[in-house]
């Protein structure tokens, strides 16, 4: 039996970062009031980490968590009062553990000093509690670890190798684990080990615990053990545990609710049956079986489609995971700015693709930081302005059509139009005589290096930011719009596609080339009359559509395709829209609508101007997906975004 200890460690790190995230969330909630459930939950997390770190001989982590546990225990017993100073210390402890674990993972090179933190912790214990004299009893702890190891080795014996080899096939199993170890410890071990093989594991011993059979599922922490202790009740902490593996882990683990996996398995089963039916028809095919054949094909098509949707759903995670980090961010930053800010979130259960969640976290962080630093005023300013002392930042997510909309809004002072304009003139971005709309003025803040902050703080104001936010959101296929009302706040609206993996597209042709246009950006397609086409001297052609003039983008010119239709009245104009701008794309023909799987051109080649990605067409050839924002920018005369080939 050769078990890769590194794999097990990986599982521990994963669990630990979940535990830390949960601790953090609960600590933040704790500030609102000492709730025994919360305290218990925090204690459990610390305890789990201690157990796990002991198993892997991470002495620093173990010692520290032990100290922390002692403190938490006193808090739980009511010997120490919950104060801001205490939660602050506990939050720093969470950070400290994160650092310690980072060292263990080899992600951090500089050593972390544990002793000062421990001293601080024992100082509190000594000062406030009666004793604080519980020392780290190494013997007792070793015994505990040994017991855990014993339990774990049983699982290891259960061909852990196999488990790691076929990761996708983690089917929920049930194990009746009855030991002399406290049931909470069993639960923890189970959490670390992640899944138990059903057959070879038979753990005999009498049962002290009233615990029902432990259901061990692929998401052990979340769904597992019906513990006798109350589980966390707060809205924010539910499901909070799996957060934060987002940015950290390189080894890309995706946690999937068992329910989703079960549905997949059912569907695959169905597909197999349909395929068997098809085989059967094909084996003894006679012309009179044609109706059966077509029925069977329809069934396969339906099952395939459903399977595709379900598989996509596997990658869909609640946005909660991206939102989770913000309570802490707001807590810390508002304190350091001397502002009082409350974060409100809504729609955390909105699901979107994992890649998007990972990609959106940083831009959102930036927006929230901006709101804290520039948006919300200091309490004094707010009172003077007749607003409540506490500022609010709202973070909401919802679905809208095929998109997800994330809004970051604050009730602060809003953008200062004059100040932005003055700064822009100073930087030479705007000429003196120019008259700009509000929208245009606000979009100036997206310029690289643009900042109106009077002073550079450590939070923001250096002017690197909004341009990065915008470009990273664009890279995800999304857009950002912003609205602001002086005196009452700023709102950023981020629109993202639900998934980057599948796209509903319109297939069209230009001569013998086939392209795909994302359906979400198409408004309509028309065959214009000759009198609607106008030539603007030096600016190309425009088409008048319901008294609106739209620039015509000639795809054949842009992509240098010979033999295409060049007369707009013979071809078709597809009206596309992005970011409020419209353009008419001249194509030869529309072929049809279909769902395509988006493939990257960049993985083996590079970004091609005007092309957002590629896909495999029904005939097995590659089809290119058009980059609508780039095409529109081109029509707006922003030539730099699309190098003209013609």
């Amino acid at each position: 039996m050769n078990v890769d200890i590194e794999e097990l460690k990986g599982v521990f790190f994963e669990e630990a970062s979940d535990q830390l995230a949960e601790m953090e969330a609960n600590l933040l909630n704790l500030e609102a009031g000492a709730d025994p459930d919360l305290l218990n939950s925090i204690f459990r997390c610390a305890h789990s980490i201690k157990g796990g770190s002991g198993t892997f001989a991470m002495t620093d982590v173990t010692q520290f968590t032990h100290g922390l546990e002692t403190l938490l225990d006193s808090v739980r017993k009511g010997q120490i009062e919950v104060t801001t100073a205490l939660t602050d210390l506990l939050l720093r402890s969470v950070d400290h553990m994160t650092n310690l674990l980072a060292v263990e993972r080899g992600e951090r090179t500089e050593p972390v000093e544990t002793q000062p933190m421990l001293d601080e912790i024992s100082a509190i214990i000594d000062e406030q509690s009666l004793g604080g004299n519980e020392v780290f009893d190494e013997d007792a702890f070793r015994a505990e670890v040994a017991a855990m190891l014993a339990l774990e080795s049983i699982e290891l014996a259960a061909e852990a190798d196999d488990f790691f080899a076929d990761e996708p096939a983690e089917i929920p199993t049930e194990v009746i684990a009855e030991t002399h170890i406290a049931d909470s410890d069993v639960i923890e071990i189970v959490g670390e080990v992640d899944a138990l093989e059903p057959d070879p594991v038979a753990i005999p011993v009498a049962a002290p615990a009233p615990t029902p059979a432990l259901a061990i599922v692929t998401t052990p922490v979340e769904q597992a053990p019906a513990k006798p202790e109350p589980v966390q009740t707060r809205e924010q902490s539910a499901g909070r545990r799996k957060a934060d593996n987002v940015a950290k882990s390189d080894n890309q683990v995706l946690r999937i609710p068992t329910e989703k996996v079960d549905k997949l398995i059912n569907l695959v089963g169905e597909l197999v049956i349909h395929q068997a039916i098809l085989n059967d028809i094909a084996a003894n095919f006679t012309p009179d079986k044609a109706p059966q054949l077509s029925a069977a094909v329809t069934d396969v098509a339906r099952a395939t489609r459903e399977l595709q949707e379900r598989v996509m759903a596997v990658r869909m995670l609640p946005i909660k995971q991206a939102f989770a980090r913000f309570s802490r961010l707001v807590h810390d930053l508002s304190a350091s700015c001397g502002k009082k800010i409350e974060l409100r979130t809504a729609g955390e259960d909105t699901e979107l693709d994992k890649t998007l969640i990972e990609g959106i976290a940083d831009p959102l962080t930036h927006l929230v930081r901006n709101s804290i630093d520039h948006g919300i005023e200091s309490p004094v300013e707010r009172l003077v302005a007749g607003k409540p002392e506490i500022g609010h930042i709202n973070l909401t997510a919802c679905h809208e059509g095929g998109n997800i909309i994330i809004e970051v809004s604050d009730d602060g002072k809003g953008l200062d139009r004059d100040k932005i304009l003055a700064k822009a003139k100073q930087n030479g971005l705007v000429a003196d005589g120019d008259v700009l709309t509000d929208e245009q003025v606000y979009s100036l803040i997206y310029q690289p290096g643009f900042s109106t902050a009077d002073k550079v703080t450590d939070i923001s104001g250096r002017g690197v930011g909004m341009d990065i936010v915008v470009s990273s959101i664009r890279a995800l296929g999304g857009t950002v719009t912003l609205s602001s009302t002086p005196g009452s706040g700023t709102k950023f609206r981020v629109r993202l596609p639900l998934t980057m993996a599948i796209l509903e597209g319109l297939t069209l042709s230009v001569h013998d080339e086939v392209y795909i246009l994302p359906l979400t950006s198409i408004l309509e397609s028309i065959r214009p009359r000759a009198e609607d086409i106008h030539h603007l001297a030096g600016r190309g052609h425009v088409v008048t559509l319901r008294s609106e003039s739209l620039p015509i983008v000639r795809l054949h010119e842009l992509f240098d395709i010979g033999g295409a239709i060049t007369d707009c009245t013979e071809g078709l104009l597809v009206i596309i829209e992005n970011d409020g701008h419209k353009a008419a794309l001249l194509v030869d023909e529309l072929i049809g609508q279909s769902q395509v799987v988006v493939k990257s051109l960049e993985s083996n080649y590079r970004k091609v101007e005007g092309v957002a990605g590629a896909t495999i067409l029904g005939n097995g050839r590659v089809g290119l997906i058009l980059d609508v924002p780039a095409l529109i920018n081109h029509s707006l005369g922003r030539q730099n975004t699309l190098s003209m080939a013609a």
Binding site: D560, S603, N604, R606, V608, G610, A614, I616, G620, R621
Partner: protein, 162 residues
């Protein structure tokens, strides 16, 4: 594998001594067999707009989008109208998979390190390092390509479309 001598250390070629040889515009070329993923028949490609001429297009390799490079154009030779008799060599260059279309694939030749001569000096041109060496197999002279250098442009992540 024991052929290595001190004069061979300059070669950028890995320590394998098997080369896939192919013909291109009347010359024989060889590339390290370890860089070759597979050889397949010519398939129609999808043209990429705004791309250099030697990038013929992209093809579907079992669901992966792979760019196809026309080595004739890349090397500045006369273009050829390709058909089903031409071959595509799919290579792994760094982390990327790249297809190259060649006139025809010849054989897998075992070339001992001692039979490889250094390429003659061509000066400082961009193409100077593309040739890892020259080898004589029977009567034929085989030009050994350093494929990583040949496709340095294609694999550069930040390169802009020409």
């Amino acid at each position: 594998m024991t052929q290595a001598t001190d004069t061979q250390d300059v070669l950028a070629v890995e320590s394998t001594n098997q080369y896939l040889t192919f013909s291109l515009a009347g010359e024989e070329y060889g590339i390290d067999i370890l860089k070759v993923q597979e050889i397949k028949g010519f398939v129609p490609t999808t043209r990429l707009p705004n791309s250099p001429a030697h990038v013929t297009g992209v093809l579907n390799l079992r669901g992966t989008i792979v760019p196809l490079i026309d080595l004739r154009l890349k090397f500045g030779f006369q273009p050829l109208e390709y058909d089903k008799f031409n071959a595509i060599i799919v290579m792994v260059v760094g982390s990327r998979v790249i297809g190259t279309i060649v006139d025809s694939v010849s054989e897998v030749a075992t070339i001992n390190g001692t039979d490889i001569q250094e390429a003659p000096e061509f000066g400082q041109g961009a193409n100077a390092n593309m040739i890892a060496g020259m080898a004589k197999v029977g009567e034929k002279l085989i030009i050994l390509l350093d494929i990583d250098t040949v496709f340095a442009d294609e694999t550069a992540t930040l390169a802009l479309a020409a």
